[in-house]
């Protein structure tokens, strides 16, 4: 899965491009670079990478506009590089079509994990009837959830929430997206519902609800199912 995959890095900082090129090539990716969004948009149709790493704060085009433009004709997975405290940016980018994000400074291990997840979701689009992660098993067809051998009883809302998280397993999903999906666009502001349901879900499927290992919180942004 790692051989021959093309990644396009869009970043105006020479050092970051160089670093990414070196570290990702060592892991078998073929890395292309662009210093500006315009250049990237020009090159994209011919290059057709398998993944894009986009840094925010590009001088020419705003990251959000870039994603919007890209999503008009391409479904290529995009991971954005952000700085801390830019929650609002992250949310809007994720909802515009970015797949995941990484906060600078990051470790190469983190980046690799995110790339893996993003690629998996891009490739494996066929419907799976069962989801398995660690000791969590979801049987979509039968609408049953198991932790190890034990069946877990979930309310309809809890189940929908878990299913949404699992369909995007490994990727971050924003709370707005979750709210919209589960309660409709009018309830987006009432995040307390989401919190309570996550709490209840954690109580049911986590070994230590106060120290969750399956459903992770992405502060200010949303949640991620491991």
């Amino acid at each position: 899965m790692k051989e021959g995959l093309h990644i396009l890095v869009i970043d105006d900082e020479l050092q970051i491009r160089r670093f990414l090129k070196i570290s990702l090539s060592t892991r078998g990716f073929i890395v292309h670079e662009s210093a500006t969004a315009e250049e990237a948009l020009f090159v994209l149709p011919t290059l057709r990478p398998d993944l894009i790493i986009l840094d925010l704060g590009l001088p020419d085009i705003d990251g959000l506009d870039f994603i919007k433009q890209l999503r008009e004709w391409s479904t290529v997975p995009v991971i954005i590089l952000t700085v801390k405290d830019s929650e609002q940016d992250k949310i809007s980018l994720l909802e515009a079509g970015a797949d995941d994000y990484l906060t600078k400074p990051f470790s190469i291990g983190e980046l690799q994990a995110r790339i893996k997840v993003a690629l998996r979701h891009a490739i494996g689009n066929k419907e799976e009837s069962v989801f398995i992660s660690d000791d969590l098993k979801i049987d979509y067809a039968k609408r049953l959830v198991f932790i190890g051998e034990n069946e877990i009883k979930l309310t309809p809302t809890e189940y929908s929430l878990l299913v949404m998280l699992s369909k995007n397993a490994g990727k971050v999903i924003t709370q707005n997206q979750l709210m919209k999906e589960l309660w409709g666009p009018n309830m987006i502001e009432e995040t307390q519902y989401l919190r309570i349901y996550i709490l209840q879900l954690r109580k049911k499927i986590e070994k230590e609800p106060s120290n969750p290992k399956k459903i992770l919180t992405e502060p200010g942004v949303g949640y991620r199912l491991v």
Binding site: E87, I196, S210
Partner: protein, 650 residues
Amino acid sequence: MKKLLQKNELFLVAISSSPNSQYIIKWAKKISYNFKTDWIAVYVERKIKLSEKEEVSLKKNLDLARRLGAELIITHDDDIVSGILRIAFQKNVSLIVIGKTFHKNFFEKLTGSGIIDRLIKESADININVVSEPCLKLKQFDFLKLKTKSSIKSSYKEYILSILIISLITALNLFLSQLTGYWTIALIYLLIVTICAFFLSMGPIVLAASLSAVLWNLLFIPPKFTFYIDKVEDLFMFIMYFIIALITGSLTSKLHIKEMALRIREKRISDLYEISAAMGNYTEIDEIINNSIKLIEKFLNAKTVFYLVDENGSLNDYPHKFSNFQINDKDHNGILWSFNNNKESGKFTNTLPSLKGYYNPLTSISEIYGVIGFYFNDLKSLNLEYENFIKAIVKMIAIAIERFYLINKMQNIKLSVESERIYKIILNSISHELRTPLTTISNAVSGLSDRKMFKDKEIRNILLADIKESAERMNRVVGNLLNMARLESGKLKLNLEWNDINDIVNVVQERLKERLVKYNLIKEISSDIPLLYADFGLIEQVLTNILFNTIQHNKEGIKILLKIYKEENAVYFFIIDNGAGIPENCLDRIFDKFYRVSRYKTGGVGLGLSICKSIIELHGGKIFAQNNEDKGLSVNFYLPLKDMNFKEDL
């Protein structure tokens, strides 16, 4: 030989309307300058009205005295000497300066009781300096002219009244004459004349006295109905009566005048006191202006306009918004003139007297703060005493305005001193706190560039760890500075949301994972805590900073207890360690910006806890620290809980 004046002594100059006074005033200024003392210029206003020429001359004299720096006092007294001495004793002056030809009028020359002689006699231990003036003279006062003048000035009404009263009493007496003798009648007349003296002025009193004497003679002294007086004793009685009536009348009248003057003086003083007390309370310019206008309406029965200076010191083109008196272009010229020449203008003055308003510059010491204009609702003329009263009020307003500007200046200076200080601290901090890790990184990198060192695995790992740690440290410092800047600028918008406290704690734990490994972190989070309505990132920052601080200040292996529980309407957070604690006297200051207990090696800028404080307070909570009874420090804070309102049933 004792000097004429010692330092800090006060002296007094007596001023009259004569142009000679100008010379005396200048002389007084010389004395004041040479002996470096303050001086008072006194004018004793008598009931006798002055001619136009005299008024103008007097005004000139007073203006001169004021301009040369005298404290001007105008007092009412029919007796000049008593007026001068009263002020002299009141103000505790050591010297009185008076011109030789002061008020040497015909009458005084005659009786030899010159003012100066009396002054010398009655001045106790005050020195008298009699100054010879060059011979400039106004026409000498004429005693007779004095009398006629005053009679003309008395109103006609009073004369008619006095005639009426005497007539009435005469009728009464005619009736009584059947019961008593004519001497009793005389006493009745006398009584009436004395009573009249309380409300009639000099002229009508004289008329009443004379009229009563004549009528007494005519109607009551035998032979009745003739002017002829039979008995000699009756003649003497008649003459005595006449004199007594005159004296009693005029004395009572004088008393009455003195009393009126006293009352006016008292009222002025109490008015000024009230105004001064009121002005003392206001420090904001709008307050000052607003209340001045109200006071002026009350005490002067006038409308006011204020033109103040702007930051550059030039006069604003438009009046202060609270002004209640509209200015036309002509009057504006008066205002500009007053501002530029630092003198009064407009109605009642020598400059542009046809204007609607009376304008005074607002000056205090040497600064001019604007111009104040009065529009009197009903004032026909401005006598000296009233003018002085107005000027005293204007002075008080100017002083209040000055106080406002000075306070402002002082605050600005304080602010810029404080900014300077913080700026310096920040520069030093940044410089040091970022340079140090940078140096470490540089060194580590040059170490790694060396082949021998690079080959040694242990050394290599150490250097790499150094670089990693230094980079983290720099990241932290930058983060803290940014946070501080955001919080200070007031531009930080809270991203308030419902949050699970466990989430926040877990994120913090994850972030500090590597460091916490060497410490014993115990969590006691009660399970009944509802969702917290707060900014996730900021609360995360608070917990991170506190825990990080605890780690920094204590050696490895200590226990850190994180206890969170709900009580009433708030969630309480306790971070309790069993480490070294903090000296008691430093406890309050650990939340100050840039405060560090000791310069420990891996230290930060000293902003961590102050950022926590700002964030907590932004959320409506409070943070504090205390040393534990047994060992270690406890940092505690609470955050208020908000009621969750659900739109529909779950």
